[in-house]
């Protein structure tokens, strides 16, 4: 009888052709708390990326203050009646260039000197009438600086009127200032990142708390903890990628627009001021890499939190098992 029943049944099955929708994900794809989490992640990603870009910019500027000024030394020669200024300048430059670690020497000529003094002494200056010191600017290899003491000594012997300024006092102050600035920047970055970590962790846990019944049902129909955790992880990875991508892209856009604006108005006094203070708005490849890294960190954070929270929920469900004193969350059998 079976043999007759089988083909007939198959035939019946074929005709209506049972259609089922493509299998829905085990974790409901979108709900209010999921959307809220996405918003929180987007905002935190935006703030973190913005801070990261700004801090790296400030640090770069601080570093450039320091390196630009320590890239040079100046030799100042005071005029004296029995001194041939031009010859002394040449001598000083040649002498400086004999030291290892120097690269190039440039004598500030009369016109340039006059221009330098213009703000203080006014136009139409005749340098010959005034005892104006003259300068030689020597660029040096900052990583391998010359022996300043020896140079000073040699100069003093050859040209007593010469005075070597290695900018050390300035450099030291600027280094200190740059270091403080960088430190403050790092502190702000740490604070913002901590806030981001905490917010993302708690928002993820909040979004998960509405799903306890799903975890329970999955567990009771025989799912292993790892399986349940992976399902939730996938879901939260999607949410966090969307959120952090939105936030990160927005931050990158802000930097790109700021850089563009600065490039366009480079000649205006305002932008020169801004440039002097903050450096250029270009965050560079490093900045964009940092934004990408922030996005990855957020994604990791969300998925790990989801995994950890699910595992712990299952652990709690199982602990009820070994401890009848704990009766919260028992299945309603």
């Amino acid at each position: 009888m079976n043999e007759h029943a089988e083909p007939q049944e198959r035939g019946q099955q074929k005709r209506p052709e049972m259609r089922v929708r493509p299998t829905a994900p085990i974790v409901p794809p979108s709900n209010v708390s999921g959307n809220a989490l996405m918003c929180v992640i987007a905002i935190m990603a935006f703030l973190a990326c913005l801070t990261f870009g700004a801090v790296s910019m400030v640090r770069a500027t601080a570093a450039s203050w320091q390196s630009e000024i320590s890239r040079e030394l100046t030799i100042q020669i005071k005029p004296d009646d029995n001194l041939d200024m031009e010859a002394a300048l040449n001598d000083a430059r040649d002498l400086a260039l004999t030291f290892a670690g120097t690269r190039d020497g440039q004598i500030i000529d009369r016109e340039a000197t006059a221009r330098l003094l213009e703000p203080w002494l006014g136009e139409g200056l005749d340098l010959d009438e005034l005892p104006v010191p003259r300068l030689v600017v020597v660029t040096i290899d900052e990583r391998n600086p010359p022996d300043f003491a020896a140079m000073r000594q040699a100069l003093a012997e050859k040209i007593p009127q010469a005075f070597l300024d290695d900018h050390r006092t300035w450099v030291n102050r600027l280094v200190a200032m740059a270091e403080t600035t960088a430190l403050i920047g790092t502190g702000v970055l740490i604070l913002v990142f901590s806030a981001m970590v905490l917010t993302v962790v708690f928002a993820t846990r909040g979004a998960l708390s509405g799903n306890r019944h799903i975890i329970e049902v999955l567990h009771f129909v025989g799912a292993e903890a790892g399986f349940v955790a992976t399902e939730f992880q996938k879901h939260f990875l999607k949410i966090s990628l969307k959120g952090s991508f939105a936030g990160g892209t927005l931050a990158a856009l802000v930097f790109a627009i700021a850089g563009y604006w600065q490039g366009r108005s480079l000649a205006t006094p305002q932008s020169d001021q801004a440039t002097a203070l903050f450096g250029t708005f270009s965050v560079g490849a490093g900045g964009y890499l940092g934004i990408a890294a922030t996005m990855i960190v957020i994604a990791l954070l969300t998925t790990l939190t989801a995994r950890f929270t699910v595992m712990r929920t299952i652990f709690e469900i199982d602990r009820i098992r070994s401890d009848p004193a704990r009766t919260d969350g028992l299945p309603e059998t």
């Binding site: 292993e224 009848p324 309603e332 059998t333």
Partner: protein, 246 residues
Amino acid sequence: MGLDFVPSASLPEKVRGTRIDENRIAPLIHFENVGLRYGMGPEVLRDLTFDIPRRSFQFLTGPSGAGKSTLLRLLFLSLQPTRGLIRTFDRNIATIPREELPMLRRRIGIVFQDFRLLEHLTTYENVALPLRVRGKDELSYRADVIDLLKWVGLGERINVLPPVLSGGEKQRAAIARALIDRPELLLADEPTGNVDPPMARRLLSLFLELNRLGTAVVIATHDLSLMDQVDARRMILSQGRLDIYE
């Protein structure tokens, strides 16, 4: 739909196939002097000693608050006894590590009193869930699930979400979910609680059919008329003690 008209051959192959019993002699479950109290409360269950034999069919009954649900929790491994010994599938459950629990639960089907269907999944997806969490490929079980849904009379409700189902339909979906992986033991808590007598009879014949195919069944109920329909073993709980009428 009268299940009497459904030839057992129409049960999906996967559901019918029998497992190889590791040990035919040992009962599925063995209780020895089991006692349980919640927290500091009185002992809800006292000195229970009984077996659930393989392929057996029994009702678990008793007045409200007697501890039926508690006993089912013990059988489902979601509670440990305060004292005594429980052997499930010939293993002492006190020494089973957490990681192995899912593997043992896969051999037990449970019908929760409140169904516990996932609201965002269709009837089909809910019933297929146990297979899905076992990592099976959807194509390998789709036909079986649809066959089982037809068998419990939900052939027309395959693509419907639980909120749309009637109480009896939910109940049958929950039962189908418990049966889909052909458990060795089926636990049902008040499975006829929210249905009218004709539907209760239909569900009962479903359980009997399943039992005929080799699954041990425990039905907790206090519906006397339901129990009167079958001449089956009765386990009666009262004041923490268990009396068994074969």
